[in-house]
């Protein structure tokens, strides 16, 4: 059974159509790139999967269940903004994640914090934007979740941290888990992706394995993306 499944998923914001009858499936053990230009519906899709939005019609299921407390236990979500309370320090955040997520691996998180030279006594308020993003990613990736939904995980950080984050994603997820990475920085993540989903104006325009793209179309995902989303001249 697919870990994440959408059937005819549609979402309107007032009268604006954000997702238009989306059908897609993410199988266990895959790293999937959810790729599309800004405003294509990537974040809307991920927010519905996390129960932050209710679909207008159609369904989205995670391990066969509609989003709710049970699916939230399976999903580790990195939003495209900082959601940490700025008065908390790193230790308090680790306590928080330990309390609410039984699958949170505290020692893994502490190990990564040390590697990135982030002091446990530092408050979120005292951190730079980049450091906050790192802390957030460490917390999210330290869970032994079934599904990781990462919305623009590398958008705001420098290339060295970007490499570390991509390595972190690769080394922290297990064989049965899936990772969905939404981004428009395709070249950076291309090498770790198993599958790609191209999404544009709320519609899925392509769902394919990366190997298939390389063999059949004889090009990289980045090249294909530029091809598919080329603006008319």
């Amino acid at each position: 059974m697919a870990l994440l499944q959408c059937n005819q998923l549609t979402k309107y914001y007032d009268s604006a159509l954000a997702l238009d009858h989306v059908d897609l499936a993410v199988e266990p053990g895959r790293i999937v790139g959810l790729l599309g230009p800004n405003g294509s519906g990537k974040t809307t899709l991920i927010k519905i999967a996390n129960g932050l939005l209710v679909p207008s019609s159609g369904t989205l299921t995670i391990d066969g269940m509609a989003p709710g407390p049970d699916t939230k236990q399976l999903v580790s979500y990195l939003p495209e903004r900082t959601y940490l309370s700025d008065w908390m320090n790193v230790v308090q955040l680790l306590d928080f994640f330990c309390d609410f997520y039984p699958d949170f691996d505290r020692s893994a998180a502490e190990h990564m914090l040390t590697a990135l030279d982030i002091s446990p006594r530092l408050r979120i308020k005292q951190m730079s934007k980049g450091t906050r993003e790192k802390v957030q990613l460490i917390l999210v990736m330290s869970r032994k979740a079934r599904l990781y939904l990462l919305d623009e995980p590398i958008g705001g950080v420098d290339p060295a941290t970007r490499d570390y984050i991509i390595r972190t994603i690769l080394t922290n997820y297990n064989e049965q888990a899936s990772v969905v990475i939404s981004t428009h920085l395709i070249a950076d993540v291309e090498n770790i992706l198993d599958d790609v989903i191209f999404i544009n104006r709320g519609r899925v325009v392509l769902q394919s394995s990366v190997d298939h793209i390389r063999e059949e179309k004889n090009c990289s995902v980045d090249e294909l993306f530029r091809e598919v989303f080329r603006y008319a001249e």
Partner: protein, 267 residues
């Protein structure tokens, strides 16, 4: 999971509320001290100082009340309706638990602030002539018990506590419902929250006035209550107030619940 939410909410609010109580007791102590000094030493400076500490104490008492209410409402807004909501609404907890955790913590701090203010006033007036008049209070109490049976007095006390708790919950839920609804729209979220708060308040006042008038008239006219003792009538009145407060709390709870569940729309 509710206990964990409560634990973290107490942690988040305690770091503000405990210092507030500390300031409250410090200003009460300072006021008490300057009162005694001014009483015992005839110095103009001490008189001025007494006036000043009295003012400061008054401000801290009012401030403690305002901070309690404002913080509890702000926590709901900040923790659920801003970026922090991305974390809170993706925790593996039910929407009802999210509401109850904020509500119960708000109730506890409200009671604690009321208790702290009473204690602070007692501390501030320690050793004042007021205390010498305590036997008079005792006499008043005895007189009350002479005219009103003890069972009724206990009943009123229980009814008062229940009505106070329910209307306190209702007041917070009115804020929560307005904030949740206002933030379910795409734009002007805070402005709409204020509009909803005002609209709900007006509706509540209107319904409350009608319920009050018809309730009292009904009590007075209805044969079912013919010749009830005044004590019993008062119980009906207190009970009516408690039931109304309960209905208000339930309505605004449901508005909050379904808005967060079906219309959540974080920026």
């Amino acid at each position: 999971m509710l206990s964990k939410l409560l634990k973290h909410e107490f942690r988040a609010t305690g770091r503000v509320m405990l210092p507030v109580y500390l300031v409250l007791f410090l200003s009460a102590g300072l006021f008490c001290l300057t009162m005694h000094l001014a009483d015992n030493y005839d110095l103009r400076a001490l008189e001025i100082f007494r006036g000043l500490t009295a003012f400061v104490f008054g401000v801290t008492v009012i401030g403690a009340g305002i901070v309690t209410l404002a913080l509890m409402v702000y926590r709901f807004y900040k923790n659920y309706m801003t970026d922090e909501g991305y974390l809170m609404f993706t925790l593996p907890v039910a929407t009802a638990q999210l509401i109850w955790s904020k509500l119960l913590v708000a109730l506890v701090w409200t009671v604690a602030t009321a208790a702290a203010i009473v204690l602070a006033v007692l501390l501030a007036t320690l050793g004042q002539p007021f205390w010498a008049d305590l036997p008079t209070l005792r006499e008043l109490w005895d007189t009350l018990l002479y005219y009103v049976p003890a069972g009724h007095v206990a009943g009123y006390a229980v009814e008062f506590v229940i009505a106070a708790i329910l209307s306190s919950l209702g007041s917070y839920l009115l804020f929560y419902a307005a904030i949740a609804l206002g933030h379910s729209f795409a734009n002007h979220k805070i402005f709409l929250s204020v509009v909803f708060y005002i609209a709900f308040s007006i509706a509540l006042q209107t319904v409350g006035s009608f319920a009050g008038i018809y309730g009292i008239v009904g009590l007075a006219e209805n044969d079912f209550f013919h010749s009830p003792t005044p004590f019993l009538l008062s119980h009906y009145l207190m009970g009516g107030i408690a039931v109304f407060a309960l209905l208000v709390a339930v309505v605004f709870y449901l508005v909050t619940y379904f808005t967060l569940k079906k219309r959540l729309n974080l920026q």
